[in-house]
């Protein structure tokens, strides 16, 4: 019973992280800001939900598969975020007009 309560607390924390990440996805001005809000919050929140399920289930085959899912999300989510942001910058999607500096662009100009 206590284990289930602790797991539910982790699940609620993870879902709150998910919700705030999606709020950032709706509210922020351009694709790069949206990408950092959405990717960081949603990755950590989903890992929280999966960890809560692991605490509820305990050390059996269910729990170890859930741990495998956490490792998989932590490996793949930053890779896909990096690929999307690099592709967006290379296909010349503009920054928001409040942006101060674009160091990737400066680096490319320095290289040419």
């Amino acid at each position: 019973m206590t284990r289930e309560l602790i797991g539910m607390i982790f699940i609620l924390l993870g879902i709150m992280f998910d919700f705030f990440g999606v709020l950032g996805l709706v509210r922020l001005p351009d694709v790069y800001n949206r990408l950092q809000a959405a990717t960081k919050c949603v990755t950590f929140g989903s890992a929280g939900i999966l960890f809560g399920v692991f605490i509820i289930q305990g050390f059996n085959n269910f729990g170890f598969k859930v741990i495998l899912g956490i490792v998989f999300i932590f490996l793949t989510s930053p890779v896909s975020a990096h690929a999307i942001s690099r592709a967006a910058h290379r296909s010349k999607i503009p920054l928001a007009k409040e942006s101060v500096v674009d160091q990737y662009q400066e680096d490319n100009e320095l290289k040419d």
């Binding site: 539910m8 609620l12 879902i15 949603v42 690929a83 592709a87 967006a88």
Partner: protein, 86 residues
């Protein structure tokens, strides 16, 4: 007590998915839509794991793993296409 917690978390996840779908429909360019689709997929994966925990079915976890794999490959393929064409 436990029922209230279960229902609250499921409804919050549903609201998050609906907001991400709004960004998917409205987003000004392709990268926004890809980000919104990625977010919807990850929240759906965690919901599938949650449902598997409630229903005590181990085999639903395999569905979540395969869904995560296909989503990752799809996002990387779209990013590659945006960058220089397939």
């Amino acid at each position: 007590m436990a029922d209230i917690l279960y229902n609250t978390s499921a409804v919050l996840a549903l609201i998050a998915i609906i907001l991400a779908a709004w960004r998917l429909l409205k987003g000004p360019n392709v990268a926004d839509r890809v980000v919104a689709l990625d977010v919807m997929t990850i929240i759906s994966i965690s919901l599938i794991v949650y449902v598997a925990s409630i229903a005590q079915r181990v085999i639903y976890l395999d569905v979540a793993m395969v869904y995560a794999l296909i989503s990752f490959i799809g996002v990387v393929a779209i990013a590659r296409y945006l960058e220089r064409g397939l």
